[in-house]
């Protein structure tokens, strides 16, 4: 059995099955996304809204209720992926540390978790496009799905990072919700009345530009999808770093020991003597 592919496949399999068994996650995905889009459809007016799209260097115009539905769809996708990924990473944290101590390779473990996030983000994006398509006359479905998937990836990465970083469950939930509220609120064209600078640094900027352009114009700022990928890559790398720091072995391998008997019924990993020699002054 080759350790790296097997480690990746087993962790991906278990993580996806774990997500499927998470009833709260399923409820959020199935009910919250259409529910939050419906809230926008019912609450927003039909007046026309004109808003600038920096990525295309142009202005777009659409009904406020349609814009609100797309913005709420983005918010729902970010909340669901951020929340679900955070919960999974946080809950699995202790077992993951135990697995690492037992010899599970770190990189395949994290790659499997990132792949699970990508699959979940892609599924949620397709589902959200299908829901949006019933009430908004979307101009370009492909880029819209890509934008929503990018939003899921960015917040999935954030969930992964927070799940490895924070000590309490409530802190993580609060941070995911607050970040998503600020991110979508500041970039909501229906509410934004002044030009704000610095929005480019927000996690949702690329996905927001691509999604709005896809929904209401014939242009598609493809390069902006890379911003979401960059956020996902940066947060995943940071999660790996946190994971590494929290679980680094404080022991260096030393000389092999003698006098070790053979296994009774099953073979264990190779013998090794491990030496922790820490003589730091207190």
């Amino acid at each position: 059995m080759r350790p790296y592919p097997a480690a990746f496949a087993e962790m991906l399999h278990c993580t996806l099955l774990g997500q499927l068994r998470n009833r709260m996650a399923l409820l959020l995905a199935v009910a919250f996304i259409p529910g939050w889009i419906a809230v926008a459809r019912l609450c927003a007016s039909d007046r026309e809204v004109r808003f600038p799209l920096d990525s295309l260097g142009t202005e777009a115009a659409a009904q406020a209720s349609h814009v609100s539905q797309v913005v709420n769809a983005l918010a729902a996708v970010t909340l669901v992926t951020g929340f679900v990924t955070f919960m999974e990473t946080f809950k699995a944290g202790e077992v993951d540390r135990r697995l690492l101590l037992a010899g599970y390779p770190r990189v395949p473990m994290l790659l499997a978790k990132v792949t699970a996030v990508a699959l979940i983000a892609a599924l949620l994006a397709l589902y959200t496009v299908a829901v949006l398509g019933t009430s908004v006359s979307v101009r370009q479905l492909g880029p819209l799905a890509l934008g929503l998937c990018g939003a899921g990836l960015a917040y999935g990465g954030i969930g992964l990072l927070l799940g490895s970083l924070v000590r309490g469950e409530l802190e993580g939930f609060f941070l995911v919700i607050m970040l998503s509220l600020v991110d979508t609120g500041l970039q909501n064209p229906v509410f934004t009345v002044v030009d704000l600078s610095g929005l480019e640094v927000l996690p949702l900027y690329g996905a927001n530009q691509l999604t709005l352009a896809a929904a209401f114009t014939s242009g598609a700022p493809w390069s902006h999808s890379l911003l979401s990928l960059a956020w996902a890559a940066a947060t995943s790398a940071a999660a790996l770093l946190v994971f590494h720091v929290r679980t680094r072995s404080h022991c260096a391998v030393g000389a092999a020991a003698t006098g070790v008997p053979a296994p009774v019924t099953a073979a264990g990993p190779p013998e090794a003597a491990v030496r922790a020699s820490l003589r730091r002054s207190r």
Partner: protein, 211 residues
Amino acid sequence: MPSEVTQRQSRLRIEGVWKAYGRRQVLCGADLDVPPGALVGVVGENGAGKSTLLRIAVGQLTPDRGTVVRAGAVGYCPQQAVLNESFTVLQHLRLFQVAYRLPSLARAHELMDVLGFAHCGRRRTGELSGGTQQKLNLLIALMHDPQLLVLDEPYQGFDWDTHQRFWALAARLRDAGRSIVVVSHLLHDLHHFDAVRHLREGRLETEETAR
């Protein structure tokens, strides 16, 4: 030289280990030597630092000062069952099979029989009783047949029959040359040990055993 021979033969040697949490000093120069084929008990009051000592012994925690030398593969059973409640028992076994690089799960299935939960393979650990979760927690430490076993109150929640089977299994492993360190609170268990070390004021003292 005799001391060098002893050092080479030790499966676990802890020398002058110190550990503090903030201002609270937990370990103050603790020493422990576990030779092959020994079943060693570590006893002490609540909060004496037994779990801290074991976490340092397996490399999960860094000592502030001191030396830890381990020889051979280690199996660690933490005090609280560390399991993912969304995963089934078999999923746990497959993940740890990858971690330990085991060619098969034959030994794990044997141990499931011995510990009496062979019928629970497809159940999620969140649905299992506390005692059965603890059985899986222990099995994960044993399934790769390590040379050194570090067990932190491994029989919490076990019924009497399983408790007895655990000690029979521990004796068999010891007789086969494995080294086992067990944290225990139960006075009636002390006769199972070859040596008992009492953790008192951050140091380990030798305690007389009935054996």
